[in-house]
């Protein structure tokens, strides 16, 4: 310990100066490090940008080559079609006879037709009986109009009203007793015919797949060149329905599988919409 206070103060100043110096050094150091970090980050960014540009160029190149390949494939496809390769025929179906199709259509019609339940039939019959009674009354009233004196206005009015009661309404359609039974028969026959036709069509499509035959243009347009992996059964089911749709509704376009969409609601429109949706799924890459 120094006895001289000035000396002691000097010492303290010296110490403080030293500490200050060391602090300055540290700050300098830290600054340098930060600058260094920034520089390296900038460099990295530049590097990445360069890489990205390169990748972009590469992708453009690849897309071009894919496009070239696609065109090549189209040309190849055309050549193959023009060549001797065997083609699958899904347009002529001698084994699906005209009566079979008629049965299917009759079945669909029967499904679409609104059938009378027994209760409804009973109510309708009651309404018809009521109408008939009213009609007879109205005829009697009109008959009265043919011999009433012209100044008996109250009677004219009453009879005229009675007559108008029947002209205002129509006689309900009589329920056909046979309709229900006939429809049931038509439905089951239609179901049977559809199952048979479907079996025939599916067999031919499976045969074409097995023998690697070329599909018709409309078929490939709609369902793609082949069944998507893992979905062969669904694909075959839809393909069968597409062919069946063409067969049932007489679509013969070589390019458009389903033809124009039907405008009226019903069985055909439902099927058309379903097939369009399903086939779009199969064509997805």
């Amino acid at each position: 310990m120094n006895i001289d206070p000035v000396k002691a103060l000097d010492d303290k100043i010296e110490r403080l100066k030293k500490e200050l110096k060391s602090l300055e050094t540290r700050i300098d150091h830290a600054q340098t490090e930060a600058a260094h970090d920034q520089l390296s980050q900038t460099n990295q960014l530049k590097d990445n940008t360069r890489k990205l540009t390169r990748t972009d160029d590469r992708v453009t190149e690849l897309a071009e080559s894919v496009h070239r390949l696609e065109r090549l494939l189209v040309a190849l496809n055309r050549k193959v079609r023009a060549g001797e390769t065997q083609k699958a025929d899904f347009d002529d179906w001698p084994e699906v006879a005209e009566p079979l199709i008629a049965k299917i259509l009759a079945g669909q019609e029967a499904y679409a037709r609104r059938t009378f339940t027994p209760q409804e039939a009973k109510d309708t019959r009651k309404a018809i009986a009521e109408y008939d009674r009213k009609a007879l009354e109205a005829i009697d009233a009109a008959e009265a109009l043919t011999h009433l004196p012209p100044n008996a206005e109250a009677l004219w009015r009453k009879n005229y009203k009675q007559w108008q009661a029947v002209t205002a309404q129509e006689r309900p359609e009589a329920p056909d007793d046979d309709t229900y039974a006939k429809d049931t028969v038509a439905k089951s026959a239609g179901n049977e015919a559809i199952a048979r036709t479907r079996r025939l069509i599916r067999a031919r499509i499976e045969d074409a797949v097995a023998r690697d035959l070329l599909f018709p243009a409309w078929f490939e347009n709609m369902l793609g060149p082949a069944a998507p992996p893992g979905k062969a059964d669904d694909w075959l089911y839809t393909a069968t329905d597409v062919v069946l749709y063409r067969l049932l509704h007489g679509v013969t376009s070589p390019a458009d599988a389903l033809g124009p969409a039907p405008s009226e609601e019903g069985h055909r429109k439902t099927l058309h919409d379903r097939l369009t949706g399903e086939c779009a799924d199969y064509r997805k890459p």
Binding site: P150, N151, R157, Y160, W163, E170, R171
Partner: protein, 153 residues
């Protein structure tokens, strides 16, 4: 076609009878019942129109006469029992009488007799005016309402 309304009505009734015979023979269940019903309905309408013509021929003169009487009575009452409040009833009655004078039978099937009722109500209201003053207008209004209900319904 007969020019006389009575003969024409008889004529129409005869053809309606024929149409009805066909309709009856067909019966409600037959397929052409609806068409027959439509033709018969046309015949019925023709009969109604013919009857209206008969009524019109019968009621034209009485309606006009009552209307003229109403107008005259209204004048007499207006002068003899003058009262501002009574004028309402009188004016309404005169207006009704004027419209009946112009067109005594109207066009609707039930209109000739409805017009008779209306003009009778107007006459009654006019005769009641010295007693009931303005309130007699209610009788005319009731007559007009009756006419409207019969004709426009």
């Amino acid at each position: 076609m007969a020019a006389d309304p009575f003969a024409r009505l008889a004529d129409r009734q005869q053809s309606l009878r024929t149409a009805l015979r066909a309709l009856k023979a067909a019966g409600p269940g037959s397929p052409d019942f609806q068409t027959l019903l439509t033709t018969t309905n046309a015949e019925v309408d023709a009969v109604m129109a013919a009857r209206k013509d008969v009524e019109a021929a019968r009621l034209t003169v009485p309606n006009r006469a009552i209307a003229a009487g109403t107008t005259a009575a209204a004048l007499v009452v207006a002068v003899g029992w003058f009262d501002a409040w009574s004028l309402l009833s009188l004016l309404l009655a005169v207006a009704t009488a004027a419209s009946v004078l112009v067109d005594p039978t109207g066009r609707g099937v039930w209109e000739p007799r409805a017009r008779t009722t209306a003009i009778c109500a107007a006459l009654a209201a006019t005769l009641l005016t010295p007693v009931a003053s303005g309130w007699a207008a209610l009788v005319t209004v009731a007559g007009i309402a009756w006419w409207a209900w019969r004709t426009l319904r």
